[in-house]
Symmetry: C3
């Protein structure tokens, strides 16, 4: 259900590092938000170096945007961003100063997967069984 978009200047991450980071984000999300890893999507948006600015100067940040269904406890989502940011530095070697993680949220009813509107947080098991 979740989608993570990781934005970098092209050349910041090599292929193996992207695969490793996708694996870590998937593992953490699945663990913290109680979602099977088969539902976790991670995409990399690699932009031309002159298309990425911080403080109006070209830079090379690692920007991770995620989305979760509204209704997860706030503490869980804070833990999610903290673990993902930490893993991003571990996997990529990019220092915390250049790593941003932002999670957006909207109601489960505003999303669909496998042809079915998503369940509220806490209702995943019934939803998964129903679709099996």
């Amino acid at each position: 259900m979740p989608i993570y978009t990781i934005t970098t200047a092209a050349g910041t991450l090599d292929s193996a590092t992207k695969a490793d980071l996708a694996a870590e984000v998937t593992r953490i999300h699945s663990d913290v938000n109680h979602v099977p890893s088969t539902y976790v999507n991670v995409v990399f948006n690699e932009l031309a170096p002159d298309n990425v600015y911080t403080d109006a100067k070209p830079t090379r940040p690692l920007i991770i945007n995620g989305w979760v269904r509204s209704g997860h406890p706030d503490e869980e989502t804070s833990r999610l961003v903290t673990e993902i940011a930490h893993a991003a530095t571990q996997v990529t070697g990019i220092p915390p100063e250049r790593v941003l993680v932002v999670i957006g949220n909207s109601p489960a009813r505003f999303a669909i997967e496998g042809g079915r509107v998503l369940p509220e947080p806490g209702q995943e098991q019934a939803w998964l069984l129903e679709g099996a």
Copy 2:
């Protein structure tokens, strides 16, 4: 007012299919959310195949992210995602298992188009007349 971003691995959709999908998303959004089709934007973000992961493995999903103003009835937004997901499969042939639709929302006052802050849901007619 709305913006739909459709993310795929490059090569998933050909040009004609993209145009058809843009037309269907535009038609459905205009119908369900009572917005003239001239306000509906659809962009395709085509990524390198090794930049798209599900369950930490390279995949070829069709990910549709939309945005609407807060305040539409929840049932309407659920209908919106359901119709868009259904149309996506019809137009592209991609099975529902690989189609995700997620609609984000924020207040109308947080958006501007044609130089004017957007109207609350239900106030579109007055806003459109005022700008004519």
Copy 3:
């Protein structure tokens, strides 16, 4: 903390214009939302011309998506989008009819930068000092 993603059809903006627009967005955000400019990120997502549609037809809009922490006064965020849209037209020459600005929001606790969860709006000074 904020991230602005500016989406265009490739060729809409040249390099100097992109740098100027990044500088203006950075200046305005820093001013309106009381955030040091060093925290403002602007990225450009340039898509193939046949990947950008308005009203189901290929077009060349300037779409600016931002993100702020929930809790800023609504009037401030309306001022933010208004000033950014105005500056976009000034810098790029693209008329207001083709400029869209949409700001999403989620709780400060759903975001991390420099290894630390973001402060609530109004708590920036303490947070910045703590990290210094």
